[in-house]
Symmetry: C2
Subunit: 351 residues, 2 copies
């Protein structure tokens, strides 16, 4: 495709070299927040941003303070935030209006406002590129499944129409009750990809979600159309799976196990944790919110099973000082299941 | 003093080369815990250890599981724990009996058992050495103030008698309501050193407490008798104070400030945080539990004021990517107070 600028529509960031410095002009929905403050006569407003947008927090607080009556306090959450599970329940309980930016709802409550922060980046050019490069043509395979993240949900109909316009039959579904939107995926849930298509188009930033999708659905061809980093590729979970097999093998020698119960909203799998501890006299239940290498190191156990976020286990796993397994991998490591049952750990249902 | 082993009493770890590998045989008071479980018909028991003792957690859980009826679950807290403020309120709320090891009470509650974990290390030899090396002889200055930490509180009378036997007048006090015991110091509270003596004897491990004491009381000669690392020295806060002056100078150029309100029990100084934000349009209130460099980095502000634990500010300060000040230092940095009013930040009162 020509790089002549006249060929590109507004918002097409491909090959401009500016993609990451471009201000995507998020809509913080300040009007919705100020209305909620007025309605509830709120005195305290809490704002929580994902890590990548924390830097915008002070400017958003400034804008809000100008719009809000004198005497209303605006507070920023300093807790780590990588997803909807990281809801700062402390700040939520202590503010009259609590705004969680950038994720779709995990827990509903009267005083929470979820501001999705839809991206304004144009998705058409990268979908076009994906069609030309990695998706099978409609004459070869007319069925394609379509998924995206909360951030690009506002463009979901555009994506679908684009594909249909090319002659594809587009398969989508809402997944399960953990998901807010049709076609939405979470790092821990790919139920929306349970569709009758051998090829999937994932439109969104990064490889975090499509790798999870490919691990959960190893039979599907997962094409990544990334409008943020402007690249088209195919998800290849092989390296990840090799790392998982190696970790499971290493854990087979473990005598003492730490079983992590994560206290975050949306991550508590109590029955799984309890069952492991009940069945294994050398397993110890450990409760924590952030699961980090530093926190586990001082326990000095041989291996850990994480019943919380599976992405901590798989993506951050190599940073831990002892092997860290998902509950399914633990069953393999202790010999209860054969090695070929290794699969990706997902979360279903809500908190 | 001779190194002949016959000169040494039981528990004298000086110069044995084994001081840090020596198992001090902590008393975990398992009988008190099992009694409480029986009394309350408890089904869930939570255990929280300080970082340095987390490794003992699984063994203590094992012992307890043997003593407790079948069906009682024992859980370990995986939250960071460096002091009484780090009470794991999540696990506390979700267990029938919650045991906090190694610190004296910060918050009392029906289901909390505080197990102090007194050290069995003998303090007499190191007190003797301190008398010979760094304390002024009673003929020169008969007055000496005596302080220690929760860990060595069980030997406080021994220390006092030892000094009195040498002819000193020993000055002690309970400090304020933040402290449980006469003569006890916390990392953030040295009110027990407000005694009528120019020289202080601190008996305890490490330099953390005596440095705080010397910064809070720069007029006093603070002798450290460390029975754990077996060393006698004099607290020298000069280097610390220089670091503080340098940090304050660096923060004088800051335009945007983050004001940290720490959500931990015992660390909430809301009025101080609120006052700073009210008076400075470029100050933003940030709430968090653990105050770490990683959590602040993403906000990208020019400087921070920490209204939470002063030891994070002074001891961990150099690890932060932007200057981190105590509330008093902030007043100096913005020109409200002269530089020579720089003093150590302490906490009084309870949570």
């Amino acid at each position: 495709m020509s790089q002549n600028s006249t060929d590109r529509t507004d918002g097409d960031l491909r090959n401009t070299g500016l993609s990451l410095r471009h201000d995507r002009e998020w809509d913080y929905e300040l009007d919705r927040i100020t209305e909620a403050v007025a309605e509830r006569d709120a005195e305290k407003v809490g704002l929580q941003f994902p890590e990548g947008l924390k830097r915008r927090g002070p400017a958003v607080a400034d804008d809000l303070r100008q719009l809000l009556p004198d005497g209303v306090s605006v507070m920023l959450s300093g807790q780590p935030c990588y997803g909807a599970c990281d809801l700062d329940t402390y700040l939520m309980r202590r503010t009259d209006v609590f705004v969680h930016f950038g994720h779709s709802p995990m827990k509903e409550s009267d005083n929470i406002i979820y501001v999705p922060l839809f991206s304004n980046v144009d998705v058409d050019p990268i979908v076009e590129q994906a069609l030309g490069e990695e998706l099978a043509a409609p004459e070869v395979d007319p069925d394609v499944g379509l998924v995206t993240t909360a951030q690009h949900m506002n463009k979901f109909d555009e994506m679908r129409e684009h594909l249909e316009g090319e002659g594809y039959t587009v398969h989508t579904r809402r997944g399960d009750e953990r998901l807010t939107h049709e076609g939405q995926v979470l790092g821990c849930n790919y139920a929306s990809a349970d569709v009758d298509a051998d090829q999937m188009l994932y439109v969104g930033g990064g490889k975090f979600h499509p790798l999870g999708l490919a691990m959960e659905h190893p039979d599907k061809h997962v094409v990544i159309a990334d409008p943020v980093n402007n690249s088209v590729s195919v998800a290849d979970p092989d390296q990840f799976m090799k790392q998982r097999y190696a970790t499971v093998h290493k854990a087979m020698d473990a005598e003492e196990w730490g079983v992590i119960f994560c206290t975050k909203i949306g991550q508590g799998r109590w029955d799984q944790a309890q069952e492991i501890v009940d069945d294994n006299d050398s397993a110890y239940l450990i409760t924590m919110d952030e699961v980090t290498p530093d926190r586990l190191r001082n326990f000095g156990l041989d291996a850990y099973v994480n019943t919380g976020c599976p992405r901590i286990t798989t993506d951050d796993g190599p940073q831990f000082h002892s092997p860290m397994l998902t509950p399914g991998e633990y069953r393999i490591a202790i010999g209860e299941k054969p090695l070929d049952e290794l699969s990706f750990d997902t979360f279903h249902g809500t908190w």
